[in-house]
Amino acid sequence: MDSVWVAISGALVFMMQAGFAMLESGMARAKNAVNVMMKNYMDLAVGALLFWLVGYGLMFGGNPSGWIGTDHFALAYGDDWSASMLFFQLMFAATAATIVSGAMAERTRFVAYLLGACGIMALIYPVFGSWAWNEHGWLRQMGFIDFAGSTVVHSVGAWCALAGIMVLGPRLGRFGSKGEVHMIPGHNLSLVAMGGFLLWFGWFGFNGGSTLAAGAEIGPILLNTHMAGAAGAVGALLTALAMRQPVLMAYVVNGSLGGLVAITAGCASMDVPYAVLTGFVGGIVTMFGVWALEKLRLDDVVGAVAVHGFSGVWGTIAAGLFLKGNMFDLNQVIVQLIGVAVAFVWVFLSALLMYGLLSRTIGLRVSTMHEQRGLDITEHGEVGYPEFNRDAAYQREHVQQLNRL
């Protein structure tokens, strides 16, 4: 029964990949829509193989030192439960990796991006995961609470994304030379909304499946998850109104996701009102995070750093603050802060090194000519909407004419 629940939950988490693809693609321009979809599709595929080969062993293998797993690599003869666990955890690893895709959209070389995703799934994510989720991991031994991965999954993805966008620089023309900010609206808000729905749906598997058992606790976890997502959307809505900003689709979708990210750490250890509060603050944190990054001239196309990073930090702290039966325990909060800080230092620095190396070797960023043409054409040789958008500079029939650069 447990295996069935975990396997179904893994399949639900898989659907989050589709949610990310839709959300990120909708927030990108039409000339980069295929590229964003492809990145989400292929990081899952390439990453799955690597996580099976290396990542799972590093994360969940025997870990006598508390720092790194040492077996279960390329698992071939595991029992049924091990297979279910690997399947479920593989989807989590893919989620961490694919968070990066949206932030770095519209100016990243496809192959370099995939190599980065490999680095995340094979090394960066499992190493931190072994500290926090392996039963002998040193953070876990300290009492670090991160039930389904506000930090382990979401912040890890977000700090990688932050390093990526810092190495990459903003999209061409995103910020003018005199400091002006040029909005680059996404090409399809329906996709954004559907992506938001799909992610929210998948989150029930993400948090619910993390029980790793088909028990009665699933109900409260799913309720907390849903209420936090709803409160996050409302938090974003009220923030937009309070700041006299238009209530954009991206704001409320990101607000709901911020709420969901925030509750991920404490969804199994909070009462419902605190889950609502956690989600609500998560939505607000997301909004201000997006604006702060813009002020810093960091170009995060989908707001991934704010949604998954800043809200992940808040949610992890909230899991300590609102711990059922041990509320506002300072010692627990300190442990949570240590976990958050360690995650940032390890993930951000290693990702910065990885993307820096990629940038200096094979190149991470496309040329300005490729940005002009759009990555659908330059990276994949196709056009996302060949029968529509006939006013665009590049059409399907031009692809064959264009010289390779």
């Binding site: 061409l172 023309g173 300005t368």
Partner: protein, 212 residues
């Protein structure tokens, strides 16, 4: 201040002192040697312009006149000596037969892009392309011709250039438009310019998309 406005200021400042025959070469000299230099270098420029004893006596006045013209509002400046009249088709019509079809198509497309943006931004785009040209190393006359054409001095592009160079100029113009207007508007204008260039350059044997 962009290069077109500064050129007009130089012209306006020197106009009372120089004859018609002296004026345009002086502006060309400024553009070639002094446009990228700070204002105090104008003293050296004026010294070079004073080729007659009568002018040498007026050197100080000339310098003050030129510096004063730099402060004038745009409407008080004389028209740009390199300003182009007419539409993008003019560029193609005035392109010499010695320029090949790809260079002609380039002229049509770039002119179409420039005509879609405001004069101030046109100046910024031209500036960027001139800076780009400075980095290129090729034979002097061809460089001079392209420089004059890009600066808007000359309506005629009489030489042919490599596809890579022309493509990089279109791309740099697009980059300048992205930085000034944002990429969404720049994409729209590029698409519009392409459509115009396809019509205006329909008789050329070179496809506009090969420049892109």
């Amino acid at each position: 201040m962009d290069i077109v406005l500064r050129r007009r200021a130089i012209l306006t400042g020197l106009r009372p002192f120089l004859s018609d025959e002296e004026l345009l070469p002086a502006v060309a000299l400024w553009e070639r040697e002094y446009a990228g230099q700070p204002v105090f270098a104008l003293s050296g420029f004026i010294a070079k312009c004073c080729t007659r004893p009568a002018l040498k006596a007026q050197r100080g006045q000339m310098l003050r006149a030129v510096i004063g013209a730099m402060e004038l509002p745009e409407r008080q400046l004389l028209p740009d000596p390199g300003a182009r009249e007419g539409d993008a088709a003019t560029a193609q019509r005035t392109t010499s037969l010695s320029a090949d079809d790809k260079t002609s198509m380039f002229a049509v497309l770039l002119q179409a892009m420039l005509l879609l943006i405001e004069p101030a931004l046109q100046g910024a785009v031209r500036n960027r392309l001139l800076q780009q040209l400075d980095k290129q190393k090729f034979e002097g006359v061809r460089q001079q011709v392209l420089q004059e054409w890009l600066a808007g001095h000359n309506a005629t592009l009489t030489h042919s250039y490599s596809l890579d160079l022309l493509r990089s100029f279109i791309n740099q113009a697009y980059v300048a438009m992205c930085e000034a207007l944002g990429p969404v508007k720049a994409d729209q204008l590029l698409a519009q310019a392409i459509r115009q260039a396809e019509i205006q350059g329909h008789h050329l044997s070179f496809r506009v998309h090969d420049l892109l």
